[in-house]
């Protein structure tokens, strides 16, 4: 009997410590409000890693689809949404990354470290919160998915990474759950008000 209690205690302790560790090292979504502009940052998120990084080091461009949403009252009532596709490539000789935002408007940054490339992508997801009340409770989320090689092959690399992909198709992609094999990240924060964010900033 005592032995069973002892095992239960260690399970609870392990779960607690695991939770604390997860909370300490979890990828976090930080919001910052400047006027009506909402900026995002994800200091602990590293999308250039694992399989996408291996593909980049093989001189392949890798596309990442980003979706930032702001919901009001609850997490499902989305009032603002920003989607974008970023194509990252790794310069074999300079050993630096280049990023091109292909949708909605084309924009490029180059000679970046992996972290700088990630920060650049996240910063590009900032959105205008015009019309949102300062005391309205908000829930923000950032959904990121790496476009898989198989998808790239299926549609032809030229298509999947070029500027031709429409916002509609990006939204459609995010309406489907990500595949289990697909590298994906989802970060959430809230409820928080613009007033709190402005005070914090």
């Amino acid at each position: 009997m005592n032995r069973r209690q002892s095992i239960r205690f260690w399970w609870i302790a392990a779960a607690f410590l695991g939770g604390v560790a997860t909370a300490m090292f979890a990828e976090e979504l930080i919001l910052r409000a400047q006027g009506n502009r909402l900026d995002f940052s994800t200091p602990r998120l590293h999308i250039i890693s694992g399989r996408p990084l291996a593909r980049l080091r093989n001189a392949e461009p890798v596309a990442f689809d980003f979706q930032a949403t702001v919901a009001s009252t609850n997490r499902t009532n989305v009032i603002k949404r920003n989607t974008a596709r970023f194509v990252i490539s790794y310069d074999l000789w300079e050993e630096r990354f280049a990023v091109t935002k292909t949708t909605p408007a084309r924009k490029t940054a180059s000679h970046l470290t992996a972290m700088e490339a990630e920060v650049w992508c996240v910063q590009e997801m900032s959105m205008d919160l015009n019309g949102v009340a300062a005391n309205q409770p908000l829930f923000a989320s950032m959904d990121i998915r790496a476009v898989e090689e198989s998808e790239t092959r299926l549609f032809g690399r030229g298509n999947i990474t070029d500027a031709g992909i429409s916002l509609t198709s990006l939204l459609e992609r995010f309406s489907r759950p990500s595949k289990s094999t697909q590298p994906h990240w989802n970060l959430e924060v809230g409820p928080i008000t613009l007033e709190q964010l402005r005070r914090g900033g």
């Binding site: 001189a59 461009p61 194509v87 490539s89 690399r157 070029d162």
Partner: protein, 428 residues
């Protein structure tokens, strides 16, 4: 700015080719978008193909030329993926991956196509499976283990189709594709069979012509002369135990004889073009087997054999034209004799009706046509012995095929009653 890159042929651990270009052109090249892939501004200075040494398939000349032409162009991933897909189709491998790395000079990259089959591992194969309504079942399968460029095989066979006898037993082998150089390979085979004979053959055979068992030990060297051309040479040490087929006949009883033959085969195989609507393939071989007193052979003979096959695919249609001929001089053992009327030649004829003891001369041709799963064929040929006049025989057949599996019925074209022959099986 341009550096000189000598044309390099890389000898990889696996069979490989690599091409480079002396003078890399900068103008008039299709440009990939450097904004999406910064590496698109780099020129490819070399292309390497690494493929499984055990793969018997080669890359067609047009595809090889296209791959070679990539050298000097800007890196374009979509183009490389397209070439990789075509390589995968031609080599029949599960995957061809593309690896890009820094080249030998600044702003140059090297592309490696890696046609992946496992270099090490264990495989089980069914090489042949056939039911022939006149001959019964034939089956051949085995296991192989690959390790460090070596391959050990062990298999079992019971074949009533290829020769005048049904031979059943074990087949073992050791093979190394690269012996010092990728151009030279080495193979040792050991076969041990027990024979069964058709009644017609038993009744026709002379004393000492038939045997109950035979064993072969065949060391062989293969030299890849050029990409489509291969020469193999070796010795087939065969030992067989004869018996008296007809109790009434007079002659020697059971005894062990040998047939030690120098064997040599020249093979050619070429394919054109995986990129076009028409896919063509030509395979041909010429072989000589010569039993000689120099090798202390009891059977003194020379057997020459030529075959060629041309195949063209267009959409769902395939046309195949095959030819073979053979000639034996001297006294060859039964397993060397030439056979028509099996699942590959004069389909519809029974080989025991064509020539129950096999023949020393043979000429055969066939045309196969298939559309989707439907197939039809026409065979014609003749097999005869020196003292006989050749008689041309013909057959027609129809069938269905899918993924290596085939069911067909062949009709001999002859006067009088013609019994069709049914074939069912795979890889025959």
């Amino acid at each position: 700015m341009n550096k000189l890159f000598p044309l390099t042929v890389m000898i990889m651990a696996t069979s490989a080719w690599a091409t480079g270009q002396d003078d890399l052109p900068h103008a008039d090249l299709p440009q990939a978008d450097p904004a999406l892939n910064v590496n698109a501004r780099y020129l490819i200075d070399r292309v390497v193909l690494k493929r499984d040494v055990w793969s018997s398939r080669s890359v067609s000349t047009p595809l090889r030329q296209e791959i070679d032409q990539v050298v000097g162009q800007n890196l374009d991933q979509s183009m490389l993926e397209s070439l990789a897909t075509r390589l995968q189709k031609e080599l029949h491998v599960p995957k061809v991956s593309v690896h890009v790395a820094k080249g030998h000079a600044p702003d140059r990259v090297t592309v490696t196509f890696e046609a992946g089959e496992k270099e090490q591992g264990f495989d089980l194969d069914i090489d042949r499976f056939l039911y022939h309504s006149k001959q019964g079942w034939t089956g051949e399968g085995g296991a192989s283990v690959k390790f460090h460029g070596n391959k050990l095989t062990f298999g079992m066979v019971s074949d009533a189709d290829r020769l005048m006898e049904r031979y059943a037993g074990i087949q073992a082998g050791f093979e190394r594709k690269n012996v010092g150089t990728e151009r030279v390979g080495l193979r040792f085979r050991f076969n041990n069979y027990h024979e069964q004979w058709n009644r017609t053959t038993l009744e026709t055979a002379l004393p000492g012509e038939l045997y109950r068992t035979r064993q072969h030990f065949i060391p062989e060297v293969t030299i890849r002369l050029a990409e489509p051309l291969e020469l193999s040479a070796g010795v087939d040490f065969a030992r067989y135990q004869t018996f008296l087929p007809n109790p009434v006949a007079l002659g020697p009883g059971a005894r062990t004889e040998s047939s030690n033959a120098a064997v040599s085969t020249l093979r050619y195989r070429q394919r054109w073009d995986s990129g076009s609507d028409y896919k063509q393939e030509l395979a041909a071989s010429y072989g000589v087997r010569s039993g000689t007193g120099f090798l202390e052979s009891d059977a003194i003979f020379t057997r020459q054999y030529t075959d060629a096959q041309y195949k063209m695919e267009h959409g769902h249609q395939t046309v195949k034209v095959s030819y073979l001929s053979g000639r034996i001089t001297g006294t060859a053992p039964m397993f060397e004799r030439l056979v028509l009327g099996n699942s590959e030649t004069l389909r519809g004829w029974n080989k025991f009706d064509v020539n129950p003891m096999g023949a020393t001369r043979v000429v055969h041709g066939s045309i196969d046509y298939s559309y989707h799963a439907f197939m039809m064929f026409y065979d014609t040929g003749s097999s005869w012995n020196v003292s006989e006049d050749p008689e041309q025989k013909q057959s027609l057949g129809v069938g269905l095929q899918a993924g290596g599996f085939q069911v067909a019925v062949g009709f001999p074209i002859k006067t009088g009653r013609a019994n069709p022959v049914v074939y069912v099986g795979m890889n025959f």
